[in-house]
């Protein structure tokens, strides 16, 4: 093929590409509009959405791949990867990466985002009583919640490994992981329920009375201890996660090492601390960071249980309050950025880990 023909070929392909691009924009734009303004029966909408989601996305890739293949081999080989990652990058860029930067920008401005205040919002977080309470509680959640989840998860994993009912026990502990925090909130609100009088229908108060104590309004009174009663819900839900992963790791400890230790006369507790713990240390670290990240963003439980009242506010609920109720975009953004700063070490850790594994 001479250069002239090659050029013509490229030109034709470029034209085709533009046509495909326009066609896609037009078709998907039209469907987009249709969905936005549709008043169809929700079930039908869902059905169409699934069809669009599957067929539309598939056709999107198909058409672009085809268009790119019309280019000469060298060019198409370079373009194709971007067709494959394009939609993912665009979606992430629009709805996650750019917003994060915009939030950072907004955090330097006042409530209505029209006056630059520098680090004013960040200073306010540590002086405003409500915000400081949120920060304190969040730390409580992270420390107590994570510690309890990891410790209990490890204990149960070890016990389950040695018991005759491993499968069923693990299912029971793991089950709360599947349900929503809102439903879990209802479950535990009922456990903590307090009503005046001697007949208590909340399990906790009934137990307290049976033991000769006084019934309490656990979640509203007793500040700041009420936070612990909320944290118990997190422990109830997340311990299963820790347990499942620890359980798999423990099974990976080679039998002959354990055997050798036992022959040397090491007790079970010594084996646990000297062999099992060091052996699963990487898993321990991963699970711990995962639960920390999860706990930092805790929102649903607090929202359902107290709405952030009675000094149970955490950063995420305070964010919601500032953003939606007080319309204070400055504080709202700043709180979001505080959360982001808190996870930065984890991001760094993850990136290093991936680089080590996959040669990135």
């Amino acid at each position: 093929m001479n250069t002239q023909a090659k050029k013509n070929f490229s030109l034709k392909a470029a034209l085709l590409f533009v046509v495909v691009l326009l066609l896609n924009i037009f078709v998907h734009g039209a469907i987009f509009m249709l969905f936005r303004d549709s008043t169809l029966n929700p079930l039908l909408t869902a059905l169409f959405a699934v069809i669009w989601g599957v067929a539309g996305v598939y056709l999107l890739y198909l058409s672009f791949s085809w268009a790119v293949e019309q280019f000469p081999e060298q060019i198409s080989r370079r373009m194709l990867p971007y067709v494959f990652i394009g939609p993912a990058v665009l979606l992430l860029g629009w709805l996650l990466v750019l917003p994060a930067l915009r939030t950072l920008y907004l955090s330097f401005f006042n409530a209505s985002s029209d006056k630059f205040v520098g680090l004013g919002n960040y200073l306010a977080i540590f002086s405003d009583r409500l915000l400081a309470t949120a920060l304190r509680n969040n730390l409580l959640w992270v420390f107590v919640g994570t510690l309890a989840c990891v410790a209990l998860g490890l204990l149960i994993a070890i016990l389950a490994d040695r018991s005759s009912y491993e499968r069923i026990a693990k299912s029971i502990i793991f089950m709360p992981m599947a349900i929503s925090f809102v439903a879990a909130g209802v479950i535990w609100k009922f456990v903590y329920y307090y009503q005046p009088g001697t007949e208590q229908i909340g399990l906790l108060n009934a137990i307290v009375i049976a033991l000769g104590g006084e019934p309490q309004a656990w979640v509203t009174m007793l500040q700041p201890w009420n936070n612990f009663f909320l944290i118990i819900i997190l422990i109830w839900m997340q311990t299963g996660f820790a347990m499942v992963i620890f359980s798999a790791a423990i099974k990976g400890v080679p039998d002959d090492i354990l055997e050798a230790a036992r022959v040397d006369g090491a007790g079970e507790i010594r084996i646990f601390f000297r062999i099992i713990i060091p052996y699963i240390s990487t898993t321990l670290l991963t699970v711990t960071t995962t639960i920390i990240v999860f706990t930092l963003k805790i929102f649903d439980v607090v929202m359902v249980m107290t709405g952030g009242q009675y000094d149970t506010e955490v950063v995420a609920t305070q964010f919601y309050r500032q953003f939606f109720m007080y319309r204070n975009f400055g504080y709202g953004s700043t709180l979001a950025i505080v959360l982001l700063i808190a996870v930065l070490p984890v991001i760094y850790f993850n990136l290093r880990q991936i680089r080590k594994q996959g040669g990135f």
Partner: protein, 363 residues
């Protein structure tokens, strides 16, 4: 194996401790489930554990005193005398107990201990919560119209409408991207992948304010499309990472032989990679589906208070706020919202656990 035998001596202890822990873990959910079937009045009067047989004082007889008995003096009943306070609290005589049944009418109950169980169970709570109660509204002209409050069934379908596309779309998009990251070489690959990894743990909150602004400008707020896109974007990093881990582990010869046959990347991906990835797709699909199903924050922000698109978690959170003491509604509503996750959990536990272990760090 010798070690396993040696441990047997303590096995009952291990089983016992584990049993107690499991019992504690299970009991809150059991309480919810039982309560959801009890009549509204029963729930508020007695604890749910009273549905199990337990010992309680049962009235076997009533004694009616004459009207002229002075309650301030010791009261004589069956030849013994008791004070008014004693009768108020209940007083034992032999294996019987005497207690005021109606002080003003001078009636005393004679009770004996017996086994009882308050086993009145009903499906009414579920009916009420699913269909919504009827309200009578008065128009300005005095005419009355009956209107049904949106029940949970509407919210159930809304949740499904949101959850299915919000699972399918990101998984497709992420799988294509994962394939490119794993098997194609292009400038910017490392940087873009690093960005995706970084986004894994980024808290959603950092995106919400600007995205809501964009949505308001585009008219996407409170629409299905908006929430699908939001969930897709927020789920993408994890799904991409998960699928990358799977697809990059596939044997290299697979691709080479297909390439020699002249297949394009698109063909390889859709004919070869996708079918091979079904287990991985199922795992991460379940994970994403449950995440969307259980989500509260994203719906709260992007759906707001539009009742026709509200999802179940919002509906239940609203119920908690407005009808906090109506336990018959709360318990049944919460249980309905748990049905789907529990069904998935018990039927597809294998995939669920795999999805969870593959990528548990979600923003």
């Amino acid at each position: 194996m010798a070690g396993k035998k040696k441990k047997k001596g303590k096995k009952w202890l291990v089983n016992l401790i584990l049993g107690i822990i499991c019992f504690i873990w299970l009991i809150p959910t059991v309480g919810l489930l039982i309560s959801s079937f009890r009549p509204a009045a029963d729930i508020l009067q007695t604890g749910w554990w009273k549905v199990f047989p337990h010992q309680e004082w049962k009235t076997t007889d009533t004694i009616k005193l004459s009207r002229d008995v002075d309650l301030r003096q010791p009261i004589e009943v069956n030849g013994k005398t008791y004070s008014d306070d004693q009768l108020k609290a209940g007083v034992k005589s032999g294996d019987e107990r005497l207690i005021w049944e109606n002080r003003r009418n001078r009636e005393i109950s004679v009770q004996k201990p017996g086994w009882v169980a308050s086993t009145r169970l009903t499906l009414d709570n579920y009916k009420n919560v699913i269909s919504g109660k009827e309200y009578t509204l008065k128009g300005p002209d005095g005419s009355e119209t009956k209107e049904k409050g949106t029940g949970l069934s509407q919210a159930f379908w809304n949740t499904l409408t949101i959850a299915i596309p919000a699972t399918v779309i990101p998984i497709l998009i992420a799988s294509f991207a994962a394939y490119a990251f794993a098997w194609l070489r292009f400038p910017g690959r490392k940087t873009l992948f690093a960005v995706i990894i970084a986004m894994l743990v980024v808290p959603l909150q950092v995106a919400l304010i600007p995205v809501l602004k964009d949505y308001t400008a585009l008219g996407l707020n409170g629409s299905y499309l908006g929430i699908w896109l939001a969930h897709s974007a927020f789920g993408l990093p994890l799904v991409t990472y998960f699928m990358y881990n799977f697809i990059s582990q596939l044997p290299k010869d697979l691709f080479e032989s297909a390439f020699i046959d002249g297949a394009s990347h698109f063909t390889i991906f859709s004919r070869l990679i996708l079918p091979l990835s079904v287990p991985a797709l199922a795992s991460i699909g379940i994970f994403q589906f449950l995440w969307v199903w259980n989500d509260y924050l994203v719906s709260l922000i992007f759906i707001g208070n539009q009742p026709e698109v509200q999802v179940m978690s919002m509906k239940i959170a609203d119920l908690v706020g407005s009808r906090g003491n109506d336990w018959h509604l709360l318990t049944s509503a919460a249980f309905i919202s748990m049905l789907m996750p529990l069904a998935i959990f018990f039927l597809l536990q294998k995939y669920f656990v795999r999805g969870l272990m593959g990528g548990s760090v979600k923003g």
